[in-house]
Symmetry: C2
Subunit: 319 residues, 2 copies
């Protein structure tokens, strides 16, 4: 079956829980099974004739890679964060691509699926670079933390009461280096998996050449930037909460069903969505709409289909 191409493009951002489910044993068999389950909403968009980009998180996968690297330190080379992100774009892209290829085949839908390794350009003068905030890797005690700051140049920060962890910057992405190719493929009906883990952070040096930087990019924000670049009108952020809420966790908590972008901007500026909870997702949603997108849904992964139909999650519309 050839599904008509409506010319509309959607970006679906799969949260970390689409692939690695907290509390479940983290095996590749489980990761494949979870990935297959996460595709229901995506298939609905395909049936509706959307062109599609799929992005995904990579937190647990990069954490595991860092643990393996430390376990083999001195016997196998140390890989910088950018190469680890690129690795997960390959390995997780493969899992999502093969799972979706099979599902499309079962549904008798003829659409190619490919994975494009994606570099995201950041500004080397982004103030976030001097203010690392994202925890990566294992917990260490204070003595180890001090040693690693001296010997490895790591910035270390206390993470709750469990110990010290390395922190890296999370600069804002400006554009995807591969946007032109992604756009070309998406417009010809190919489903493209891109910007996995937020993309590989790169900056332009004084000669205009690209270079990697030890940082991580927020995957929802990267999805918003990439979506705007390719003229997408819909961004679906799939996560582990049901809705965006005001006064979250308080007596007067109010779940949002639908909201204009200008109203959401006011809520964000009033401090309703702290960093570490919904803040980055709401910022990403507003970025997407302010750059030309029309609708963002933020919903539980399990509600993906309903959210796209406006029956679950929170819907943010331009206005």
């Amino acid at each position: 079956m050839t599904v008509p191409n409506s010319g509309k493009t959607a970006v679906v951002a799969l949260g970390g829980n689409a692939i690695t489910v907290p509390g479940q044993e983290d095996t590749i068999a489980n990761q494949f099974a979870n990935t297959r389950k996460s595709l229901d909403g995506i298939i609905d968009l395909v049936r509706d004739g959307y062109n599609l980009v799929i992005t995904h998180g990579n937190g647990p996968q990069v954490g595991n890679k860092l643990l393996r690297i430390e376990s083999a330190r001195g016997r196998a080379p140390i890989l910088p964060l950018g190469v680890l992100v690129a690795d997960t774009e390959g390995g997780m892209g493969y899992m999502i691509e093969q799972s979706l290829h099979n599902r499309l085949k079962e549904e008798k839908i003829d659409r190619p699926v490919v994975t494009i390794i994606t570099q995201m350009l950041v500004n080397k003068d982004d103030p976030a670079i001097d203010n690392p905030t994202k925890y990566v890797g294992q917990f260490y005690d204070e003595e180890e933390a001090t040693t690693f700051t001296e010997t490895r140049g790591w910035k270390m920060k206390k993470d709750s009461n469990r110990g010290w962890r390395r922190v890296v910057p999370s600069p804002k992405p400006i554009c995807a280096i591969e946007a032109k190719t992604i756009n070309q493929l998406v417009n010809s009906g190919t489903i493209v998996i891109a910007a996995g883990g937020g993309g590989i952070p790169v900056f332009e040096n004084e000669n205009g050449l690209l270079d990697g930087i030890d940082a991580v990019i927020d995957k929802d924000y990267a999805s918003a930037v990439l979506g705007a670049e390719i003229g997408a009108e819909l961004l679906c952020i799939l996560t582990s909460v049901d809705k965006v809420s005001l006064n979250f966790g308080k007596e007067n908590q109010q779940d949002l069903d639908e909201c204009t972008s200008s109203q959401m901007r006011e809520y964000l500026e009033a401090g309703h969505f702290p960093y570490g909870s919904m803040g980055p997702k709401v910022s990403a949603a507003l970025k997407f709409i302010e750059a030309g997108g029309k609708v963002v849904t933020i919903s539980n992964l399990a509600d993906a289909q309903k959210a796209m139909a406006g029956e679950a999650g929170t819907r943010i519309v331009a206005g």
Copy 2:
């Protein structure tokens, strides 16, 4: 500068030594530096107006990943070989892509470069699957080897006098699942990095769905198959030997400058190129020409430019 598109397509297969140089300390900085050096021949092909696919090996990188996985066994999930190949397609693709992007910028040539994660279809009844021959991972002693056969289902084989290693099959690739997209991009002038490490081996199950298999694919043979699929006329195999030779290592060794494919087929069948030396490269070259390709060069990486001009290496021509 926009280089005229001649409509001719070449596949360049970078050998393992293009990125990891034996004897040199294996750091990512060195891998990037080696990658940059390996691009001279590729830039010449771009100047000549060729459309380009670049493939690459991943032996040392997969070896390091297996070592890290074993070092963290019990604390981080075990990844199957197919996912490891996909990881290296991402990480090494990123390195090659960024290095080439920068080199093109320096040369003022305007051509996009992207990396496509590539699955290669194999036949699940390929006789190679029951006869594993490719060593992967570390050396173990005989007792460990016996244990791993029992507990992990690994097939183990003695590798020279250094100990026992795991062996996996190396089935013949039939086609690239992403060939249509690769062809579309290549024909529009995009330089595509694909089929890294020979591609991720997949087979079709009884329902026609794709599934991974614990195997590795010869990257030169994969390059030949992919090249034929996209109508390439030139395949450049870059390795660590100067030329293909008859009676290699003997008193009457004869280096080959140019040879027809039918003559080379006779040499191959006469046993001049054993498995483990030039055999697989010559087989890949003949596969490419017999499927419609015109010319294959096999040369030292350092001689890439000369080989393409017919001044170094061995040139195999259809005939």
